[in-house]
């Protein structure tokens, strides 16, 4: 049986890092999924929710629930957006039973990419190969809201030629935090620099994460510091062969 997977690429990947979405589609197809991209999709509503604009967030969330209502599986290249849908929609719709019900119905079908591979498809070796030394950044919402710690690491350990080297602050926030990054730029930038110090200490060539927005923050800081270290979304690593 080939699972039917609708990919929700997130607004960040759609607009800024389309190659991550393409890589995810490739990996899912190679794993035997029938992948479709519902073209009406946009965003999960998290930016408004996290900034305190719940009405605006609800408008976008209702739209999301409508676009994906018939999807069998919804796979997302982001822990943060996944958690928005599976955890925070319930809070957002606490006063509207009809939408709360729809949010609860969709939640079990929404999967963060690495967890979908490991837990649903039960695949840890996707047949990828990449000659590199990688370090994995635990993005906060994936780690603490979805308890994603082992799945991405299992997948990385099975990539031929890749050495996984842990950094000492893998679980420390990169400082992105959505609008936090521009409301408190100095603090956010300082957090990013603490993070890249730790990355540099590993001597890794590449930083891997399951969230493109963390990687945008980390790559932005690496690039500003003139460091050669690159960032890659897990999907890009797994698509490499």
């Amino acid at each position: 049986m080939n699972p039917r997977v609708s990919i929700f690429v997130t607004c960040v990947v759609d607009q800024l890092f389309p190659r991550v979405g393409l890589a995810m589609a490739d990996v899912l197809e190679r794993a035997g999924c029938l992948v479709d991209f519902p073209e009406r999709q946009t965003c999960c509503g998290q930016p408004a929710f996290n900034s305190g604009y719940h009405d605006d967030a609800r408008r976008v969330a209702r739209y999301f629930l409508d676009v994906f209502k018939d999807s069998e599986y919804i796979v997302v290249p982001s822990g943060s957006c996944t958690s928005m849908i599976t955890h925070h929609y319930a809070d957002l719709f606490r006063d509207s039973p009809e939408w709360l019900d729809r949010a609860k119905q969709i939640a079990p079908r929404v999967w963060e990419f690495s967890t979908f591979l490991v837990e649903v498809l039960q695949i840890t070796d996707v047949g990828a190969s990449l000659e590199t030394v990688a370090t994995y950044h635990d993005s906060c919402h994936a780690l603490r809201e979805l308890q994603i710690k082992e799945a991405p690491r299992k997948l990385l350990r099975h990539v031929r030629g890749l050495e996984l080297r842990e950094m000492d602050t893998a679980e420390e926030c990169c400082g992105f935090g959505g609008t936090f990054s521009v409301k408190f730029p100095g603090v956010s930038g300082g957090m990013a620099r603490t993070k890249i110090d730790s990355i540099v200490r590993t001597n890794a060539d590449v930083v891997v994460s399951v969230d493109s927005s963390c990687l945008m923050q980390i790559q932005g800081a690496l690039s500003r510091a003139g460091l050669p270290t690159k960032t890659m979304h897990l999907a890009e690593v797994l698509a490499a062969r």
Binding site: Y63, H141, F180, V187, M191, M216
Partner: protein, 474 residues
């Protein structure tokens, strides 16, 4: 309205020595905690947290009952309970008592609750001198600063700073060895203990079923403060109540470990009432001052009531990446870090520091280490929505509100969203990769803030949806 102390935050970030002091000290406390609660050393850590949360919830849901029980039991052992609405009432009570007993000197052990109401300043204003006896607090009293951290008040001071403070304020020879500095403080403070008429402490727990005040400390100064002078006053928030002495088996296991990684602190004192006939130690008079100061307002809200579960261990400060950058003094009140960010707006009103709930990347590390499981990120999110609901009138807030309105509309119009993306891509497309600058007309607001710290990704010529349309079927 108190606005964001941007310049002060910048100064803290730019001070390399201070940054190192904060990062190293919080890091040490964090590491010690991590070891102390590890599965090998404390296998039932998660169960203890669940239990602590349940006890606190029960105690606060039934606070009226337990406060009465506590009061009765304190009276039964010869003590007195005094209820105070705010700092003024606490100061009035202490001053009146001091006047009646002819007291001229007061010694104090570390207490965040008295910091919260500026008690020292209030007493000093009326001529009653209060001396801090916790080493960190004493250093800060000499330096005329407020605590930098809930547990380690002088965390930002290096031993060289302390040497300078002692030299200028005590007139002693410059001394940079911490042990010798402690000896200097000890000599001064020993005199104060012996001369003081009143000892004033806080309280870590108030035990309802026995009327006991429990104090947890490492220096022994709280025990001296509560036993050497003739009068002992303990000032505590009403939320410090726990139902039974046996609940301490849960809380004492968690408090020391979460705060400093200690299995137990060096001293744990159970104080119930004044000295009885035939006893050698203890005060002649024993008072417990129960402070509201906004707490009943939090109690009224079912969701936010959990903010009162806090046992002031400071673990959320140590692990908070924001606290570790901006330190304790940039928070507008004595309570700093994540716990400060949620209780300050609730105690003082959401309109006073509307920026505070936003001073977090919502990384959730605080909730992970909280021994009583306060869902701090959720409360921050709730408070943010309260801030926007007040419709702040400043220009920045108005622009932001309008932007999100437009954005949310755009996000339900995929075609327009696509076109907006293409426009942004064209505007920034001067090559590919990462930009160090953005062209002048765009160098405003969020883009300017972003580019001040990091390079900016150039939106690629084609978005995912555009690439998907031409993707060959595999």
């Amino acid at each position: 309205m108190t606005s964001l102390p941007e310049a002060n935050i910048e100064r803290t970030l730019a001070d390399a020595n201070l940054q190192l002091a904060i990062y190293a000290s919080t890091g040490r406390l964090m590491d010690k905690r991590k070891t102390a609660v590890s599965a090998e050393l404390l296998p039932d850590y998660q169960e203890l947290r669940t239990q602590a949360n349940a006890v606190k919830k029960h105690a606060l849901d039934n606070l009226d009952f337990y406060l009465e029980q506590f009061e009765t039991n304190v009276q039964n052992v010869g003590g007195h309970v005094v209820y105070c609405r705010d700092g003024t009432e606490v100061a009035d009570f202490v001053l009146k008592l001091a006047k009646e007993r002819g007291a001229g000197l007061l010694v104090k052990s570390k207490s965040m609750t008295t910091e919260e109401i500026d008690l020292n300043e209030r007493l000093e204003h009326h001529g009653l001198h209060a001396v801090e006896t916790d080493l960190g607090e004493y250093i800060l009293q000499l330096a005329e600063e407020r605590p930098y951290h809930i547990v380690a008040p002088a965390l930002h001071k290096t031993r060289y700073d302390v040497a300078d403070i002692f030299t200028s304020k005590l007139g002693v020879e410059r001394e940079i060895v911490p042990e010798n500095q402690t000896r200097i403080a000890r000599e001064v403070l020993r005199e104060k203990f012996l001369a003081a008429d009143i000892g004033l402490t806080g309280a870590n727990f108030l035990v309802a079923d026995s009327g006991a005040v429990v104090l947890v400390e490492n220096e022994g100064n709280a025990r001296l403060t509560s036993s050497a002078p003739k009068i002992h006053i303990a000032v505590a928030g009403i939320e410090k109540i726990i139902p039974r002495a046996q609940d301490l088996a849960v809380f004492l296991k968690l408090l020391g470990r979460s705060a400093t990684g200690q299995h137990l602190t060096v001293y744990t004192s159970f104080l119930s009432g004044p000295r009885r006939n035939g006893e050698i130690d203890g005060p002649d008079e024993f008072y417990v001052v129960l402070l509201d100061n906004g707490r009943t307002r939090l109690l009224a809200d079912n969701e936010k009531r959990q903010s009162l579960y806090c046992i002031r261990c400071g673990a959320c400060l140590n692990i908070c990446p924001v606290y570790r950058k901006i330190g304790g003094h940039n928070y507008p009140w004595v309570y700093s870090g994540p716990i400060g960010a949620i209780i300050t707006p609730q105690y003082q009103g959401i309109g006073k520091n509307p920026w505070l709930p936003y001073a977090s990347s919502l990384c959730g590390a605080c909730a992970e280490v909280c021994p009583v499981k306060i869902d701090i990120p959720k409360l921050l999110l709730d408070l943010r929505s309260e801030v926007t609901a007040t419709h702040p009138k400043d220009q920045k807030s108005r622009i932001e509100r309008m932007s999100f309105r437009v954005w949310s509309w755009l996000m339900t119009k995929p075609k327009l969203f696509e076109m907006a993306g293409m426009a942004a891509s064209t505007a920034l497309a001067n090559g590919c990769g990462w930009l160090r600058n953005v062209p002048a007309p765009l160098n405003i607001g969020p883009l300017r803030a972003w580019i001040s710290q990091r390079d900016l990704p150039v939106p690629p010529p084609k978005s995912f949806r555009q690439l998907w349309r031409t993707r060959p079927n595999k």
